[in-house]
């Protein structure tokens, strides 16, 4: 999970390049001025490609912060 956060942090830093605050599981679009709906889908696609997974439209609509994103990544790794 810690490594996941590092990888997501790299994406956040590159995409939201004006944001200089901490990247924690609690970080959400409300905390980042650049994080609008258009950049949100770009962000999620970068995460998909970084981790080699794809989110469902339902998941995309439900993510509230980085922590929920990380939990979804973890769930996709866990055999059902």
């Amino acid at each position: 999970m810690e490594n996941d956060l590092e990888r997501i942090t790299t994406i956040v830093r590159n995409l939201f390049d004006e944001y200089e605050g901490p990247v924690t599981p609690m970080l959400s679009a409300r905390d980042v001025a650049q994080w609008n709906s258009l950049l949100n889908v770009q962000f999620l696609v970068l995460v998909e490609k970084e981790f080699g997974i794809q989110f469902s439209s339902r998941q995309v609509a439900q993510f509230k912060n980085i922590g929920e994103l990380m939990a979804a990544l973890q769930a996709k790794r866990t055999p059902q």
Binding site: L38, Q42, V45, E48, K49, Q54, F55, S56, S57, Q59
Partner: protein
């Protein structure tokens, strides 16, 4: 439309002097490499070089009319110019879908512009489309 990785679209085009003049007026770009044949030749080119913006207009056509089509919206483009395209030189732009994200509606493509064997430019484009237009 059911957009999938590997979908392709192409468009042939020729940029003539009238189009160059039109773009010059729209962009108000009179840089000599595009307008002054003698200057362009002195810089090692065969003649005035076609504006990159005109080539991007043809990319716009492929994205808006073919893939992803009329319901898409561009999010990001990038282009690298490798060789000059000259006025009245036949060219073709080729676009291929490289990634689709059913959850977000993002479609990514790469494109290349060629004039015969010459590679004029390459680049990428990212669009967002209604979710029901992406193939499973």
């Amino acid at each position: 439309m059911n957009i999938r990785v590997g979908n392709v679209a192409t468009r042939k085009f020729v940029v003539d002097a009238a189009t160059m003049q039109w773009f010059r007026e729209v962009a108000q770009d009179t840089s000599r490499i595009h307008c002054d044949a003698a200057y362009a030749r002195s810089r090692g080119f065969d003649g005035p070089v076609v504006y990159g913006g005109i080539m991007l207009a043809h990319l716009s056509h492929l994205l808006g009319m073919c893939i992803p089509g009329e319901n898409g919206a561009s999010v990001a483009w990038s282009i690298n110019y490798h060789n000059p395209l000259y006025v009245d030189e036949p060219a073709e732009i080729f676009l291929e879908v490289t990634y689709v994200s059913p959850g977000t509606g993002i479609v990514e493509s790469r494109f290349s512009i060629r004039a015969g064997e010459k590679e004029v430019a390459t680049g990428t484009a990212q669009s967002v489309v209604p979710l029901d237009e992406i193939g499973a």
